[in-house]
Structures are given as structure tokens and as C-alpha cells.
Amino acid sequence: MIRKVSQHVNQNEGLIFEKSSPGKKAYRLPPLDVPEIDPGKLLGEHAREDLGLMPEISEIEIIRHFTRLSTWNYAIDLGMYPLGSCTMKYNARVNEFVARLEGLGNAHPYQPEKISQGALAILKLLSECLCEITGMETITLQPAAGAHGEFTGILLIRAYHESKGNPRRKIIIPDSAHGTNPATAAICGYEIINLKSNSEGMVDVSLLAQLVDDTVAGMMLTNPSTIGVFEKDIHRIADLLHDKGAMLYMDGANMNALVGKTRPGDFGVDVMHLNLHKTFSTPHGGGGPGSGPVACKKVFDSFLPTPVLTTRPDGKLGFEYNRPQSIGRVRAFYGNFGMFVRALAYIFANGPDGLRQTTEDAVLNANYIRKKLEGAYELPYKTGSMHEVVFSDRLQTQNGVKTGDIAKRLIDYGFHPYTTSFPLIVPGALMIEPTESESKEELDLFIDAMKSIAREAQEDPQLVVSAPHNTRVARLDETTAARKPTLRWRPEQSEARRPAAVVKPELVETR
């Protein structure tokens, strides 16, 4: 039944420090063309003598080290990566190519504006495209990631209310929200009002109506919600807030369900962030870098972080720093420029028709999975899905198999797991977001695997709860890792210095 994977040589590899020995080198500097100096004389007591355990290693060893490590990772390039909320879509290689062009990749952030017009033109065009896609009127590209965008957006809302004389005290957040939302509201100095979802997993409008008053600065809403459903009452939600002078913030994590089909600015959102590393295909890179532009309505323009892009009277582009009402900077320089280049290249590759088709395919894929897996897995909310579908492990827990176990077993079938145990409103959630990047063939393989695991959970639950069985390492002891944290290497931890035993290859554990 396991159609996607087979055994594959997976080489053992120690830590880089365990390969180090004095005198090995992977570099050579050009000869010094200025007089030599004595660091001890120039720096005095501040001069450093030794760099401790930093490795000494050759170039081929570095190449092999990281190449071997790379083979221990799963990646979009290897197959479907259906992590809900993370939008693991194809990362086009042309994006990497253009981001590394000499004049862009090597541009110093403080080089004079007259020799930065190319970079500034990219900022301008991307800003215009993102405003058009979101239906917003102004934007800052400065935030470095989604959570950083949330921080910026909530500060904008705070600054707006302050300009009216009162920053207000509370932010309303649905219980289905990402953890970054309450964490953000807290670091912006707001009290969090937790909004319980209704029986359909959506915003309970009547409950919201009771909570909104003039102490509420705004609401942070993810739309489509984290169960992948469009808030059909979005109009009423926006009106309820606006009637009391509160603002609607949208977490743009799920924008991949909307691009080209509807625009948050049109349906009442005041401020939102985008995750360029989700919707606009900049690579996740093992956890970052991201980029979290914040798009908003015109009333927030004067509060945007400094500097803002401006067109000078002579038509040249430049940065404007004198912005007395600004919330201030949220990052040094102008943001993750390299991600802007990639995101714009993605927009070019798609065009308006491709962006719309992308959204449609993402939604089609999620609904295809939903249709094929409903019954094998419990669907806690029956409302129509958009780009992701959330099942629960209720049917499997009867045999002691939980969402985390199913996820680990999925690894054996050659897939990255879906998002487990989120959103919190679905006990034992399986949150599946296929994205548009999956062919029907790959989806069918995934569906086969999930159905097969559902059968295993009935017939041989032990097989599932002890998974994964085919990985290089088995389930790791996270308890000891947290009780007695070892967060760095020291020579006494070394494994590699043991004398090597000669073992025939067929006896070596290869996975």
C-alpha cells in the first residue's frame, strides 16, 4: 500500500566539530596589500587570543556535511507538505535567481538613492500590486514576518485611536486564532478578550455584539478562519466594530484562499498583514526568513513605520523620514528586501489570470481531499471548506490513536504530516492544506495513505502509535530534552571519536 517511498541510503554524519582538526582550512585570503598590524597593539586588552571550539575543516568536508544533513529533511521539493496554515507551495527557482542579481543582492541599504532606483522601483511596484490584491490603500513592507506584521498592524490601530485621544484597552480575538495573535496584542499593551466560536466554528456574531464597546480597539480575525471557512457574516462583524469606532484587523495567513476572488479591503478589513512566505511563495527555508507587509486603509497612512517610499518632484524615488505621527521603525533598514524580489517575481509569473487560477486550484485540492477522506476521518464542522480542511481524530481515538500518531505514521508513507492539534477549538485536529502545487496524482497518493492509516488504526493501532518506523531516527525523547536541556555541543559529548568497527553494509542501519 505504501506507494510513494522506498528504502534510500541515508548516510550517518556527526557534528561538524567532531570532524575538526588543527590545520585544516576551507579558505584562502588574498595577500594583504596594506602594512601589517599588530592586533595586540591596536586593541590592547580588547584583543582576542583564541576562538575556542570553532571548527577547522576543509571545503569538501563542509559540502558533504551539509549535503548529508540536507538528505535528512523532508521538503516541498520532495513531495506534498500539507501543513495547515503554513501554505507550503512551490518555491520557484527563478525567484532565487533574480534575488541574487549583483545590483540587487549586493546593494548596501545606505547607498545613495540615486544609485538605488532599481531597488526602490521594486518596492514601489510590489507595494502597488499588494494594495491591489488586498483592496487596500497604503502599505508598509518593513515587517520581517507575519507576527512582526501583526505587531506593526496593532500598533497602527493603537496610534490611530491615540490620535483620537484614547488608545483603548482591549483587543478581541477568536479562540480559533493563531497563538501569535494574543501574543502580539499582549506585547502591544492590550488586554485580550477571548471570543468563543459558535457551533459552526465561526465568529459568534451575537456574542461579539455584546463584547464590542468603546473600550475595544479592534478585533484580530483570520479569514478564512483557521478551520478553512469563510466568515460569511464578515459584513456584520465589520459593521459591529466600526459602529463603536473599533478596527478590524485581518491575519492574512490564509490569503491563499482569496487572491483574485475577493479583497479584504472590500469586505471591511481596515488593517492586515500578508505572509510573503506563504501566499507569495518565498521559501520557508526551515523556519525563515519571512516577510510580513502590512496593508491598510488610508486613515493609517500617517502612522506607518518610517521611512516610507515617496516619489520626488523630479520623478525619482526616495525615502521620506520626516513622519511625526509614525509609530516609529519596526526594523532597521527597509525590511526583508530579498523576499520582495521573490514575491514580485511570483506575481509576474502568475499575472491576474494565474493568481486567480492558483486560488481556485488551492481550494479545489482541499475540497477534493475533504470529499475523499470524509467518513474515514470525522469532519467536526460541515461548513464549506476553502483552501484547507480540518478533520478530527475522534474515530481513531476509540482505538487509542491520536492525531499526532496519525501524523507520525504519515511520515512512513512519504508525506510530511499535516498540522496537528490546531486549531484549539477542534480537539485532536488534523489540519490539512494541500495548496495549489499538488497534482491530482500526488493528492491521490496522499488520500490512499490517509485511508490506509485509518484502516491500520482499526486493525493494528500499535503500528500507528509507534510510528514512524522508516525514518533515520525514531521518536525522540523530548521530555529529557526539556528537563535537562543540552543546547550546545561540548567536546565531552562527542560520539565520533569511538574506534570504528567494520560492519558489512547490509547490516548497517540505513534509515
Partner: protein
């Protein structure tokens, strides 16, 4: 559309199997008045060659092939070719945060190696898996110091990167957390120790300094630590030029170090993405923001790595988390990891020494024609040049020779008059330095 792996027949078949007649049925929940009934006004779909042409043209409108004497938080160092060869492997590039440890050991082990090397270089016990950049890292370090001490004031050197200070101000002032700024000594450009001592009250959570500081001066970390610790405040040291650690003593007396590791193999890239990282004393680990990778074993006793102490983070602790950070700079941290491996124990020192020599030569030469401020400063690769005329004029002349001169400081430090901050790295040849000098004196 070339990124979409479906034929029209596939789509039709899938719709049929789902049992709907048209894709629009899935979008029915969107109220009709909000459905977009037109094309987005974005550029039309382009071929790959057109995309490359567009960015080539933009690249050519930007400076390319110039000699760069700018530093100020973004440093022009050589990037070994193997960095991009390795980080563009799809297994690193297109992988997510390593929550599923069994199939992300590559990323996890690389981060563990990164954490170890950052500890070695900074003299700290623990380091996290990265922060957005040096500016937000410094702000997070201050918030961390507040959690550790239970105090709410911070004391910040005026010689911390001005844009870092702006970011810190944004993080603090909306919550009513006070910060005071301490000036620098005229002779050395280093923090004014007497003023510092007076500025630290019993409410001070921490002192934040940068070393080498924005004006290029290496700070006396041990002396500053003593002053801070005497008043119960922590010392946070921000390092914007990571390569300085190859030849400058690590700030081992600090409690928290906020490092911008861009110098380690990260392209200048018009300001980002860069590579912030926090390192600290072990006892503060539970107040550390960001991800941490720890070593452990699997059930068969095999060594492996996991994300650990996650209860500090937003996805578990929500509004009570140490920070709202989620996405970090993992791939950029991988660039730095490879860079540190390439140069290693000897190379970082040799490279740092070359930087020191180039900057020393340049400062000496410039000193013959202009004033080098802060004569008593111990410096790494940056120095401040004061001229009779506004440095913008000289910089304009330099641009004609394809040289980007030092950063005029009037915007940040008006009291320094016609001053500019120059940086020399291993990338600046003697020829370039001599050519720059000619324009400055012209």
C-alpha cells in the same frame, strides 16, 4: 500557468468526483457584493525570460561594481560560493520549521551547530535559533532583561545603531516603558562611564551598549558590566559587526548578547533578510524568546535534535509567551553557519585581522587630510572622518569614480558636524582606499 500541475481535464474530473458543477460553488460563502468580478490590476503573466529581464534592468539601475566604504550595520564581506550552493538545496530551502523532528534532522542539527558556534564566539552559554535582525533582537533582549529583573527602565548608549534605537523606542514607548540615553566620551567615542553610572536607577532592568559601537569604538565591556551589575541591572551587548568577534574579546561579562550575524555570509541585499540572534547566560534560558534546539536521543539511543523548551513560545503560551516571534531567519542562519565553518577558528581571526589592518591604513591616510574623530578609540573596521565641507559633496565626486563613500552622520549625530562613518573590510583594496582619499581632499 506553469507552476500549476493540473490539466483542464484533471480539474473537471476532480469537480465531478467532489460532486459540484463549478469551482464557483466553493466560493459561495463569500457574499456576492464582495466577489471580485474583474481581473486584478497587476502585470500580465510573464515568461521566465521576461521576469529575468525586468529584474536585470532594475539591477542595472542600482549600483553594481562599485567599491563600497559603507558599514553602519551592514557589512560588505566576501561570501564563499559554497554558501549559496548549499542553501539552495531544496531540502533546506523548501522545508518548514522543524516541528516534525524525525524528518527535519538536517535543519535541526545545523541549528544546533549554529547555536554552539554563536556561544563560542560571544562567550555566552546559550544561543537561540535566530531573531529577525540585530535591531529587533536588541529590543527583544531588553524585554527579556525586564522579565528577568522585574524592572521596567532601560538605559541605552547613544552609540547603539540609531535605527536599532528607533526600533527599541517603538517596542517600548507604546507600553509606557521608559528608556534613557547615555552619551559618549569625546576622546574615545565610547560610552561616558560617569554619565552611565548616574543614569542607572534602581528601576533599571538593563544597560544596552553596542560594541564596536556605531562610531566604531570598542567598548570596555568589563567596566560597563561592573557598573550595571552594581545596581542590579543586566548588561545587554549588541554587536552589529559579527566579524569583530574574530579579533575583539568576546563580551563574556554581559548577561545577554544580541548579535547581527549578517557579516557571516549574508548578502547586503539592500537591508535584508539579515540574521539576528540572541545569546545569554544559561540561567536566563526560560526568559529567552525564539526557538531553541536541544540534543536528545531516540528510543534506540541514537543521537538526535529537537525543538525544545517550546512552552516559552506563542503557539503554546499565547498571550503569556516570551515573545510573539514565530517565523525566524533559519535559512539565513544556515548561511552564517556555513560561513563560520569555512573560515573557522583560524580564518575568522585572519580575516578580522585583515579588516583591522585595512581600516587602520585608511584611517591613517585620511588622517593626513582630514580629522579622524575620537583619537583614543580602539577600533575594528570603522572610523569617523570629519571634513571642512559637507561629506555629501565628496561622496558625489566619489560616485563618478564608482566609489561609494562613507555614511554622512548629520542625520543621526548633528553635533559631529561634517562627519562621515567609513568602513574598510577585506573587500577594499589599497588602490580603492587611495582613490577615495583623493576625492575626499579635492
Amino acid at each position: 500557468m506553469r507552476y500549476l500541475p493540473k490539466s483542464p481535464t484533471d480539474r473537471e474530473q476532480m469537480l465531478r468526483e467532489i460532486g459540484v458543477s463549478s469551482i464557483d460553488e466553493f466560493f459561495a460563502a463569500i457574499p456576492a457584493e464582495y466577489r471580485l468580478k474583474r481581473d486584478l490590476k497587476v502585470p500580465r503573466q510573464m515568461s521566465e525570460s521576461e521576469i529575468i529581464d525586468y529584474f536585470r534592468q532594475r539591477s542595472q539601475e542600482n549600483a553594481a561594481g562599485y567599491a563600497v566604504f559603507l558599514g553602519a550595520g551592514a557589512y560588505h564581506h566576501y561570501r564563499p560560493v559554497i554558501i549559496d550552493a548549499l542553501v539552495q538545496r531544496g531540502e533546506f530551502l523548501t522545508s518548514y520549521t522543524p516541528y516534525q523532528a524525525e524528518i527535519t534532522q538536517g535543519t535541526l542539527q545545523a541549528i544546533f551547530e549554529f547555536q554552539t558556534m554563536i556561544c563560542e564566539l560571544t562567550g555566552m552559554d546559550i544561543a537561540n535559533a535566530s531573531m529577525y535582525d540585530g535591531s529587533t533582537g536588541a529590543a527583544e533582549a531588553i524585554l527579556m532583561a525586564m522579565r528577568v529583573t522585574g524592572r521596567e527602565h532601560s538605559v541605552i548608549a547613544k552609540t547603539v545603531h540609531p535605527e536599532y534605537r528607533e526600533v527599541i523606542h517603538t517596542y517600548l514607548h507604546h507600553r509606557g516603558l521608559p528608556m534613557v540615553t547615555v552619551g559618549y566620551a569625546e576622546e574615545s567615542g565610547a560610552i561616558n562611564l560617569d554619565e552611565l553610572d548616574r543614569a542607572i536607577t534602581s528601576d533599571a532592568a538593563c544597560v544596552l551598549i553596542q560594541s564596536p559601537n556605531f562610531l566604531g569604538s570598542v567598548e570596555d565591556v568589563a567596566a560597563i558590566a561592573e557598573i550595571a551589575h552594581n545596581k542590579g541591572a543586566l548588561l545587554v551587548v549588541s554587536i552589529a559587526e559579527a566579524l569583530s568577534l574574530g579579533i575583539v574579546k568576546p563580551p563574556a561579562e554581559a548577561d545577554i548578547v544580541s548579535l547581527e550575524a549578517q557579516s557571516f555570509g549574508v548578502p547586503l541585499g539592500f537591508g535584508g533578510p539579515y540574521d539576528g540572534v540572541l545569546a545569554a547566560k544559561e540561567k536566563y534560558v526560560r526568559q529567552m524568546p525564539g526557538r531553541l534546539v536541544g540534543e536528545t536521543k531516540d528510543k534506540n539511543g541514537k543521537r538526535g535534535y529537537v525543538l525544545t523548551l517550546s512552552t516559552r513560545e506563542q503557539h503554546i503560551r499565547r498571550e503569556k509567551a516570551t515573545s510573539n516571534i514565530c517565523t525566524n531567519q533559519a535559512l539565513v542562519a544556515l548561511m552564517s553557519t556555513i560561513y563560520m565553518d569555512v573560515y573557522g577558528r583560524e580564518g575568522l581571526k585572519e580575516l578580522a585581522t585583515q579588516n583591522l589592518a585595512k581600516a587602520h591604513y585608511a584611517a591613517n591616510q585620511f588622517g593626513k587630510k582630514a580629522t579622524i574623530l575620537f583619537p583614543k578609540a580602539k577600533r575594528f573596521n570603522e572610523f569617523v572622518v570629519q571634513t571642512k565641507q559637507d561629506p555629501h559633496g565628496a561622496n558625489d565626486r566619489l560616485l563618478e569614480k564608482k566609489i561609494i563613500g562613507g555614511l554622512p552622520l548629520k542625520r543621526f549625530y548633528p553635533e559631529l558636524g561634517n562627519a562621515a562613518l567609513w568602513c574598510c573590510t577585506e573587500m577594499n583594496t589599497r588602490e580603492q582606499i587611495d582613490a577615495a582619499l583623493e576625492a575626499v581632499q579635492a
